[in-house]
């Protein structure tokens, strides 16, 4: 709408929002959704059904009338279950009354965390390739995003040297995500100790998005929050989407120092009020017996990971061995196409959807993300099609 000389609506949009481009994934989705018979390795969520006992308990929650507001922080029963789980699984203790906030997915938790801690101009260090929302949410919170490029040669790990090259006087927060979307990269205890030492020396706050923590295939996951003197400068983010296949429930949580959680709660209570009561009830049930559900899925993902990596090897496609999440991030640079063109042509010619690495940051150029959250028959057929595609390109 444009009326007599007043600026166009676009010009009146908030600048941090206006200047952020649409997600590259969104564009790609629009193309894929017009096509038929596509095998998608582009789906960033589990193909497993939410465990039946969790779904059944959701129905029960409706029947029992758990359909009202909950405490802003989330049901205390859930927060108690969460701190129990986090203590057992990650070795970090939190007070369920003051140090946990239940959120609408990790996405909301990250948004709150940044808004609660950043003043305009404060810098956030994060590593790319990374989840699509990091840079935008930092900008929405009036922070300054400073991307650190990780590389396949290092298994997409973060090193102290990389941090040193990017840190400034204004750096306030270090944002981590391991196991990593889109690379499948993980950080072992030694790797994290190096990062933790740096954070302590520079007095940085750490936000760690560990949504894929349960999905590791070679070594047990370690949380940076569990390292010495890290708990009180770290905000631990986790949720139910990946390990329990509960993406649509939109349920996440943050654990951290009480002051930080309290500040986040202020924003949460005025903008969201509380996470869905039903999702919270379902989460209580999910935590009541996590091992059986997750173990079966992890075994299956591991087998698919092995299959995919072996297939890439047969196709002579370079791929850093993913050790967590459900993504492989092969290098396609030698075929002389940009990541976007590679993905588009693969889609047009062979009806296989992968996501161009550039959707996850500029240094994703030359890579594509292949999710193995799809059944083996589909993965196998996708590899057959990929082989045909690559053969034509020598």
């Amino acid at each position: 709408m444009k009326t007599n000389g007043s600026p166009s609506l676009r010009d009146r949009l908030a600048l941090p929002v206006r200047d952020i481009p649409r997600s590259g994934i969104r564009d790609f989705f629009d193309i894929v959704s017009t096509m038929r018979d596509v095998i998608s390795l582009g789906i960033g969520e589990p193909d497993f059904d939410t465990p039946w006992h969790v779904r059944e308990s959701t129905v029960f929650a409706i029947e029992r009338g758990a359909t009202h507001y909950t405490s802003n922080l989330g049901y205390l029963e859930l927060r108690q279950a969460l701190t129990g789980y986090v203590h057992k699984k990650f070795g970090v203790g939190y007070n369920p009354v003051t140090e946990v906030l239940v959120t609408v997915g990790v996405s909301e938790a990250l948004d709150l965390a940044l808004r609660a801690i950043l003043n305009p101009g404060d810098e956030v260090l994060y590593h790319e390739p990374c989840y699509v929302s990091y840079r935008p949410v930092i900008l929405f919170a009036h922070g300054v995003p400073r991307a650190i490029e990780t590389s396949a040669a290092d298994g997409f790990r973060l090193t102290r040297a990389m941090l040193e090259a990017q840190v400034t006087e204004r750096t306030k927060v270090l944002l981590l995500n391991f196991p990593n979307n889109p690379t499948g990269g993980v950080m072992g205890r030694k790797d994290l100790e190096e990062i933790a030492a740096f954070a302590r020396e520079r007095d940085l706050l750490v936000i760690t998005d560990e949504i894929y923590a349960e999905l590791t295939y070679d070594n047990a996951h370690v949380s940076i929050a569990s390292l010495p003197e890290m708990r009180d400068r770290t905000l631990f983010l986790h949720g139910f989407s990946k390990a329990w296949a509960m993406t649509g429930y939109r349920l996440g949580y943050a654990c951290g120092p009480a002051e930080w959680i309290d500040a986040m709660m202020k924003i949460h209570q005025y903008t969201m009020l509380c996470a869905s009561s039903l999702a919270q009830k379902a989460a209580i049930e999910a935590l009541a017996r996590p091992d059986a559900d997750i173990g079966t899925m992890v075994d299956e993902y591991r087998r698919r990971r092995n299959f995919l990596v072996a297939s890439f090897k047969e196709l002579d496609l370079d791929c850093s061995r993913p050790a967590g999440a459900f993504y492989a991030f092969p290098n396609i640079a030698r075929f002389g196409l940009t990541a976007k063109d590679f993905a588009l042509k693969l889609l047009e010619e062979e009806r296989v959807a992968v996501v161009p690495g550039t959707a996850f940051g500029a240094c994703g150029e030359g890579f594509v993300r292949c999710a193995y959250a799809t059944n083996l028959d589909q993965i196998k057929e996708a590899m057959r099609r990929l082989q045909r595609f690559l053969k034509r390109r020598g």
């Binding site: 997600s23 994934i25 790609f28 989705f29 894929v32 959704s33 596509v38 998608s40 582009g42 789906i43 960033g44 969520e45 193909d47 989840y131 699509v132 929302s133 979307n181 075994d299 087998r303 698919r304 092995n306 299959f307 072996a310 297939s311 959807a353 996501v355 959707a359 083996l376 196998k380």
Partner: protein, 159 residues
Amino acid sequence: MEELLKILQKNARADHADVAKQLGLSLEEVERKIAEYEKRGVIRGYQAVLNEDALNLDTVTAVIEVKVTPERGGGFNRIADRLSRFPEVRSTYLMSGAYDLLLFVEGRNLRAVAAFVSEKLSTIDGVISTSTHFMLKTYKRLGVLMEPSHEDERLTISP
């Protein structure tokens, strides 16, 4: 249970080369292991899981609770073995509780099953009593739901 067995239990027709790739083994290793399991009697067979209701067959299946007198020396094994050898008996289990053996018996029709129970089963030495229940509909067998599951409702691309 070994992972190889888990895969085969879920899908006996799994391509051995694919299985090898999933487990990080060579094709030869996978085939050798399978052959060993077969030889040791760990793998006892490979069958299709049929939705028999969809075939409109007239056959009936009965679940029969059997009380027996255990024998000195052999316990329940000898009588269980004798019952199991009837081709009509598809499955035999020794149970705790109010009866001893649970049989799944298949017959051409109701009369055939009735004849089996009255003429064969109940007349066997050691069988004290039987209680027969006819199966009406199968919803799930061997871990497989008989109704096809829903379509994948996920978005085709997501972050």
